[in-house]
Amino acid sequence: MHALKLENLNKTYASGVVALRDVNLVVEEGDFFGLLGPNGAGKSTAIGIISSLVTKTSGQVAVFGYDLDTHRWEAKSALGLVPQEFNFNNFETVEQIVLHQAGYYGIPPRVARRRCERYLRELGLWEKRRAASRTLSGGMKRRLMIARALVHEPRLLILDEPTAGVDIELRRSMWEFLRHINRSDGVTIILTTHYLEEAENLCRNIAIIDDGEIVENTDTQSLLTRLGTHDFILDVQQDLDRLPEGLEFSLRPLGPRQLEVEVHKDQTLTRLFAQLAEAGIHVSSMKNKSNRLEELFLRLLRDRGPEDRRLA
């Protein structure tokens, strides 16, 4: 079952900016899907069209097989949205915001109150339920937007940069929460983010959008293996005055006792350690260089070349 299907979606804003060009995208039920792309790529525009906040120029949107134009009620009920920007009524309380949202979806008050309590507790906002939304911190507001988006128990949850401006600890707990509702409640999740580490951690499938076009759409794993090389950071036991020569691996010093090494797909770590030992270098610890995705991302966009990128 497709949780979301976009067909030939186009959007040209009244200002003449072409934000989406023939976007085709399918997200399967149960997926945890990442939509990545640089600023202004068209991510929020696509999400805006899916959630009926932006009118499309042409194309089709279907949520769980329901066309957004012809089966409004079913399509919209299946969808929950966490927008990029805060859009609360400043004067309403946390509880009012969540309960009103439930009401707009036609959920009876008794059920709404129960769910409101569940999600506010799970997101650590229960104590704040009587606080006006304007008095919340940025991180609390982000979580409130998630609670609000879940109160009608959508089968598809779309989050537009949910962790922007959120501290590391909170970000991790939000990841946990999202993983949990994806796994246990079977909610399909689509998320945009500029933290590629986040996408690498959470998403099973990733699409990259650039300048309104989908330039990549695959599973996270094969995207990463496509990097071809793996970068590691090694801590060594003795100060390195100079780098050993004649190794099959390219080394780069990061500090007196730290090295960065690039290992190709067809090379092995055993061989790396053997060669280092031969050169008298003993490795005390090793770690993955993070942000592999980030590298790939930059490479992909760079490969598209400046002449390929239409400057608006």
Binding site: Y13, A14, G48, S51, S52, L53, V54, T55, R72, W73, K76, S77, L79, L81, P83, E85, N87, F88, N89, N90, F91, Q96, I97, H100, Q101, G103, Y104, Y105, G106, I107, P108, P109, R148, H152
Partner: protein
């Protein structure tokens, strides 16, 4: 199932709207009570006795229905215009737009909010007027239906204003330059039978005149106009503004980019 959900959505918007104007009652309910009390003191008690009877009623009796109506009109209008514009401005209207709530329900909910405030204000002003004069109600069904329909009509007006408004100034232009003159010239303070023929004729083109007079008929039993004309006119405008509002919502004017 569909109807039940739709009704819950309608009740939610209405409830939220009522909650809003009650929360800020110092800005919404108190000012009309004070302003209208001043009208009664100045025009009714101080100046009224010198003016003498109007259409066979003491001046204060004559103006009371008009003053109540004026409060209903301005409050219905300003409730919807400021609430809906505020929702657009703070963008929480998106909460409703992403939901499956049908456009007609969005409109009805906001209008219900405007009517609630309009009628509550009308009730408060009526209570205030009882300190100054006695009100016998000549025809209760007419009184209630006219005030209700007028409130619906001006709530719709406020809604349309809010849809087109882009900045805060835009929500006071219509009230200042159109609504206030129309109400003041709508026979609140005088009977148009006092006017020269030309001005009487001009006044007859003012829709507010019909509403004020129909309401006055309900209370006093006296009117400058035929009340059926008034009903026809109000219903016509409700149909007109109502369908225009729905059309705007459908197009997403001022709401969707």
């Amino acid at each position: 199932m569909y109807w039940r959900r739709t009704l819950i959505a309608l009740a939610t918007i209405t409830h939220k709207e009522i909650q809003r104007f009650l929360r800020i009652w110092v800005q919404t309910l108190l000012p009309p009570a004070i302003t209208m009390a001043l009208y009664f003191i100045i025009f009714g008690n101080l100046i009224g006795p010198r003016i003498g009877p109007m259409d066979g009623y003491s001046y204060i009796e004559f103006i009371a229905p008009g003053i109540i109506m004026m409060a209903v009109i301005t409050n219905s209008y300003s409730n919807v215009v400021s609430s809906f514009f505020g929702a657009k401005f703070q963008r929480h209207i998106e909460e409703i737009l992403v939901s499956p709530t049908p456009n007609a329900v969005i409109l009805l909910g906001y209008v219900a909010g405007g009517v609630s405030r309009g009628l509550l204000t009308g009730f408060i002003v009526t209570l205030v007027s009882l300190f100054f004069t006695r009100l016998h109600i000549h025809n209760l069904p007419v009184t209630i239906s006219v005030v209700f329909l007028t409130s619906v009509l001006f709530s719709l007006g406020g809604f349309i204003n809010a849809v087109f408004a882009r900045k805060f100034d835009d929500i006071s232009i219509v009230p200042t330059f159109i609504l206030t003159p129309l109400t003041y010239l709508g026979g609140v303070f005088y009977s148009i039978s006092l006017l020269p023929e030309f001005w009487r004729w001009v006044s007859m083109t003012n829709p507010v005149l019909y509403m004020v007079n129909a309401f006055r008929y309900g209370i006093l039993g006296a009117s400058d106009i035929n009340i059926w004309t008034a009903y026809g006119l109000i219903l016509f405008f409700i149909a007109l503004l109502g369908s225009f509002s729905l059309y705007l919502l459908h197009r997403g004017t001022g709401l969707r980019t």
